[in-house]
Symmetry: C2
Subunit: 478 residues, 2 copies
């Protein structure tokens, strides 16, 4: 048995001394030929390991380089250095794995985030990415914890699908047919009956429709899995593969939906604040340092921690789409023609409009409801005005849309008519319509783009930096 | 706000009476024109709702059919019936959604599991599938809980990948190229530089290799996500899309790995026993009823609950592959030529052999270690005998392999040589080899097929019945 070690996070959390421990990790630095900063990924805080001058033979000593992995057994003693209560006085030190410090891509200097993306297989070993992915972990765990506590069933909706939930969006095709010379049918097209599933299949863009099937039995379900968009957009906010959380609740109307979404977002942020305070403080400092290079008016008004606390302590603003358009039309930005895109009832809001509402006008998260039906999906519940649907989007400062949801159309006739109007085949979707045929109920749900909330909580600005290995157009490394 | 209801599980858990509540759910039955069995999916137990004769107008009363959804407000009163402490005396009853009881596919009679697969969008509303998917939820939550408590980082490894972790296995291709007339290169093959990612990409068969990258920074990580095999095998144990849990631990050897895997499996089973006792008892009864139709010698020796308790209370047997082969060669089954497949050192064990070891010989879960290197993957740590690798498979009664794992080869030279021997391109896998170049450490990990453990815990026998919407050859419905 190899693993009889104590993790550095646990060791640093206690001020107990006098006992012997074994620690293992990677060398971050060696100072004065005597002080090793050792990290094992459990925390950004390094353990100070002290070796006495001359304690090690020269050959071993030379192998204690940045990036090398070591095992140390020694006594836990009070630390005289700043910032830690204890350190380990090495009795035995073994090199587990060497690291050529000159070739090691992670150099002890500031390296750009762009470069880090190229060495994404190693960047977890830096303070920034260590903090980001521990926070990401906590947010993911908090999501499961929140829904489990509330009696939601975690439903694994399918990844490979033959339907397109959103009725829109470019999709990735999944196939086992040969790329060259696939079998053809009599019309000269590809014969998908020969494909693995006997028909053309895609990667899912949303688990919602299948999620609704679960909600019609368990009352409350959620999904949390990967979703895909084959959109050729190279922005700091889009990925071809990303993780999405989609709760779906029977016996919910739009207001219930908003209440749950707000409570949910606050819960997971609070969870990270409670469990990752050191990581968030590190990321707050990183963000502050980064923003020092920006002109004053481009800097955030609040620091990262303050921003999160502000969200926790304030209700989200709730306005209708119609009110949002009115605010925009009456804004000085509109009057001074500062918006690039059109502002008009019936037209979807662009990022610049959303950011104006959130960052300039309300200065807090905003829930916009009751959008025009023509810019929203077929399954959203039609309002009595005949023009709008019971949709809700949650917009967050710096990020834009993080949640999109709605009350669903539970009335069979209205749903079928809407599908026909939009040329969505009701025959193929018969399984979906069955939920409206047999004991239909008012229900609602929303989708949260997981990476968007990770961006928001970590203060990072490029979505590629908050997912382990980003998939974007022309980029599928590792 | 619509959702001011109390869930039936919570209501039935208390014996408080005299207060007014609102409940919502689906009608399971109406007895004596007076007693409604109401279910909302929070538990298999129905709430009895009592209506007085003549309380409702005739039109409303007729709509209280099996499958219809209703909202009831009334007083919680002590129940005179058996099996429940309280019931609700209806004061107000509203039909939310009608259900034509004759057309409703779920009829109040025994319907086959095969038929239920055809109506998988509705089967969640039956007792059997309600229980299965609540247990599945608990097992999934227990997985996250276990690893979170132990300081593991949940790492979302990529789904779309350009590498094949296992060096084997048929894969699904992911593409946005047109199916007919894709762009060709000068050699007449498909020009993948025109594809979305600029190269040929597939759905992942395992997150392990990327998981190792995480473990080399965070010490302990786990994945829990969908994985894919494009194998044309129509068995009761294989799916084209399934969920897998893959922990990966730095500073672990094979024994540490076995210890963790055993502790992990026991933890999640215990969690389900603690949180889903009623569901498991229902499934135990279902299994016992089903097995009554089998001849005596085909029935399980232990009931479902007893089987799970047995696993919790006994250590897993640990034997080497070499010992396993010896046991098989000395078995009466072998001597009586009852095995269909060859038993010989160096040849992979078949399901019949694994089941013999687990079900006949040891009668408990067995961990088989140190397999011949030629039947295992390139990344497994080579033992000093030159013939075997530090692999481990966990075999479970009735299921066969539920866990496959190993200590990984951390020595760069040995790993590179093995890859070259197997014609695995080391250039393309340079990122993977970097973990061995820069601070390599002994490490290990395993993969648990999630549906396999759900099968084991629920006592179901077909894997299609424990995943919401199964994907198998020629089958991609819903």
């Amino acid at each position: 048995m190899f693993n009889n070690r104590v993790k550095i996070k646990a060791l640093l959390a206690s001020d107990e001394t006098g006992h012997e421990v074994t620690v293992m990790g990677w060398v971050r630095s060696l100072r004065n030929n005597q002080f090793i900063a050792l990290n094992d990924g459990s925390t950004n805080n390094n353990l100070q390991v002290v070796i006495e001058l001359g304690q090690l033979d020269e050959a071993t000593f030379k192998r204690i380089t940045r990036g090398a992995s070591i095992r140390v057994t020694g006594e836990v003693v009070p630390s005289l250095g700043q910032g830690q209560k204890v350190e380990v006085k090495a009795k035995q030190l073994d090199i587990l794995g060497d690291c050529d410090a000159e070739k090691f891509p992670l150099q002890p200097k500031k390296q750009s985030l762009e470069f880090m993306r190229e060495v994404a297989h190693l960047r977890f070993r830096t303070n920034t990415f260590g903090a980001i992915f521990r926070v990401r972990h906590s947010l993911a765990f908090a999501i499961h914890n929140f829904f489990n506590q509330q009696g939601f069933v975690y439903l694994h909706t399918p990844i490979i699908t033959s339907s397109d939930a959103e009725g829109a969006g470019e999709m990735f095709r999944v196939t086992t047919l040969p790329a060259t010379n696939p079998p053809l049918n009599e019309q000269g097209g590809v014969d998908f009956t020969e494909d693995f599933f006997g028909k053309s299949t895609n990667l899912t863009v949303s688990g919602q429709l299948e999620g609704e099937l679960g909600a019609m039995a368990f009352s409350d379900i959620y999904t949390f899995g990967p979703t895909f968009r084959a959109e050729n957009s190279n922005t700091t906010r889009h990925l071809a593969e990303f993780w999405m959380v989609e709760p779906e609740m029977a016996f919910y109307d739009l207001e219930d939906n908003m209440n749950l979404a707000e409570q949910f977002i606050k819960y997971i942020i609070q969870y990270a604040m409670d469990h990752n305070r050191e990581d968030l403080e590190f990321l707050a400092q990183r963000l502050a340092d980064e923003e020092k290079q920006l002109p004053q008016d481009k800097r955030s008004e609040l620091g990262l921690i303050e921003k999160l606390e502000f969200v926790l302590n304030n209700g989200f603003e709730r306005i209708t789409y119609t009110e949002a358009i009115d605010i925009l039309l009456n804004s000085s930005a509109y009057k001074k023609k500062k918006f690039q895109y059109e502002v008009k009832w019936g037209v979807d809001m662009q990022s610049e409009h959303e950011r104006y509402l959130v960052e300039k006008h309300f200065k807090k998260p905003v829930i916009v409801t009751n959008y025009p039906k023509d810019i929203k999906s077929f399954y959203m519940r039609q309002n009595d005005d005949g023009k709008t649907v019971a949709a809700m989007d949650i917009l967050a400062p710096g990020i834009g849309e993080i949640v999109g949801g709605s009350q669903r159309e539970e009335r069979l006739e209205l749903l079928e008519k809407r599908m026909k109007d939009l040329n969505i085949p009701t025959e193929e979707m018969s399984w979906y319509l069955d939920t409206r045929r047999y004991g239909s109920v008012p229900h609602a749900g929303f989708g949260l783009g997981f990476e968007r909330i990770v961006l928001f909580v970590t203060g990072m600005t490029n979505i590629r930096d908050v997912i382990p290995f980003a998939r974007t157009p022309k980029n599928c490394e590792f």
